[in-house]
């Protein structure tokens, strides 16, 4: 079995109910072995969109589970989450996502 070199590109768009106040792009983490960077940006559509580029290929189902779990708890709306990953474990991904949203302005009531 062989695979042409490349990275997996994954895209998930999930509905959310909590609109986030206007914010400047937020970057946390660094692309390194077992690590990832997460960039949060505002987007006009009332969803939370996750775009993932990862060197660990074939883990789409696990990524989907991690971002669904995240969105179930936070239900963000109007946020785009872009990720560059170099084989981080789901626990590390969850921590980085938590770190990123901790820097968001408080959600509007």
């Amino acid at each position: 079995m062989s695979m042409a070199p490349g990275v997996d590109v994954l895209d998930f768009e999930l509905p959310g109910s909590k609109a986030v106040a206007a914010f400047e792009p937020i970057l946390v983490g660094v692309v390194g072995s077992g690590n990832l960077e997460v960039l949060l940006e505002p987007q006009s559509t009332p969803t939370c969109r996750f775009q993932v580029e990862t060197s660990a290929r074939g883990f789409g189902a696990i990524w989907e589970a991690v971002v669904r779990d995240f969105q179930q708890r936070h239900s963000l709306s109007g946020v785009q989450v872009s990720i560059h990953d170099m084989g981080a474990t789901p626990a590390v991904v969850a921590l980085r996502l938590a770190q990123a949203i901790a820097e968001l302005p408080r959600a509007q009531p």
Binding site: G6, V7, L27, V30, G32, E37, S55, R57, H84, M86
Partner: protein, 301 residues
């Protein structure tokens, strides 16, 4: 990014962006080509490697004690701070803009293993362009100050770039050299250089060694605020870029080569430089080393 400095924050432990946030005047850093612009490597994906939103370097303008500076910070955790095509182009763009806009100084927070080998010739050309652009800044009369204190050190092409600058600040955990320890061992054999011998590595490339030899201008503790103070002191430390200065540098290097003619270990080299108990150097504090070098320079002067 919210960062609350405590009394001592390790410079080595900080990311490039944390260093920028803590070293410069609070909130003064304005980034060019920030992560959201997505100016990323066109080469890495073909090799199955993820890119970084900033290609491993942040560049921009800022203030340091109210003085205007242009600054670049390399992220050692991304590909060892390797200089790829885009990474190098960002450094060159910042340096060329300095020639145009004339800040008080340029700061390079260097942390790099040198050329990003994945990008081959593009990376090599990028590093040579950085050297030329840096020398153009100096020729225009602005000092370039390099800070070295990251865990990856400053090696390869970036080691040469640093040596082209006016002023180098290092911590004792910082390392500066051309070929890195693993490179020397791979090409010369373990008898030539044992890259796993950390004591050997630091006494050959570390901040104390560089300071004792005169390659580094200020030696500081591994503390972001110590780097900030040193960088501030360096803002007016221009070194003339003249033939006379270059010839003086060559005389210094010839003298060093003569002192190390029999491939002396750093301990022996330090002894020849006049240090009475060279074996104690690794255990000495940065302050002790500074006092010794200051008195020694006074004697020579």
């Amino acid at each position: 990014m919210s960062l609350r400095p405590t009394t001592v924050t390790s410079y080595a432990e900080c990311s490039a962006r944390q260093r920028l946030a803590l070293l410069l005047d609070a909130g003064s850093f304005h980034e060019w080509l920030p992560p959201a612009e997505r100016v990323t490597s066109p080469h890495l994906a073909q090799l199955g490697l993820p890119c970084a939103f900033d290609d491993g370097v942040a560049v921009g303008r800022a203030a340091l004690e109210g003085r205007s500076v242009f600054v670049a910070a390399q992220e050692g955790a991304f590909m060892g701070g390797g200089v790829g095509e885009v990474h190098g182009a960002k450094l060159v763009g910042m340096l060329r803009r300095a020639v145009r806009d004339r800040p008080d100084a340029v700061l390079l927070l260097a942390e790099s293993g040198g050329v990003r080998l994945h990008e081959g010739n593009a990376g090599l050309i990028a590093v040579s362009e950085v050297m030329r652009a840096l020398l153009d800044v100096r020729a225009s009369g602005m000092p370039v100050v390099v800070l070295i204190g990251g865990a990856n050190g400053c090696f390869g092409g970036m080691g040469i770039v640093a040596a082209c600058a006016d002023h180098i600040v290092m911590s004792d955990v910082g390392r500066h050299a051309m070929s890195g320890p693993e490179v020397i061992e791979a090409s010369g054999g373990v008898e030539e250089f044992d890259a796993r011998d950390r004591s050997l590595v630091w006494r050959t490339t570390g901040g104390k060694h560089r300071y004792l030899l005169g390659d580094c201008d200020q030696l500081v503790d591994d503390d972001v605020q110590a780097f900030r103070a040193a960088a501030t002191r360096a803002l007016d430390q221009r070194r003339p870029l003249t033939l006379t200065a270059l010839e003086a540098e060559h005389r210094l290097l010839s003298a060093r080569l003569a002192a190390a003619h029999d491939e002396a270990d750093a301990f022996e080299l330090w002894r020849r430089l006049g240090i009475t108990h060279p074996e104690q150097v690794p255990d000495r504090s940065v302050r002790d080393i500074g006092v010794w070098v200051a008195s020694r320079r006074k004697e020579v002067a």
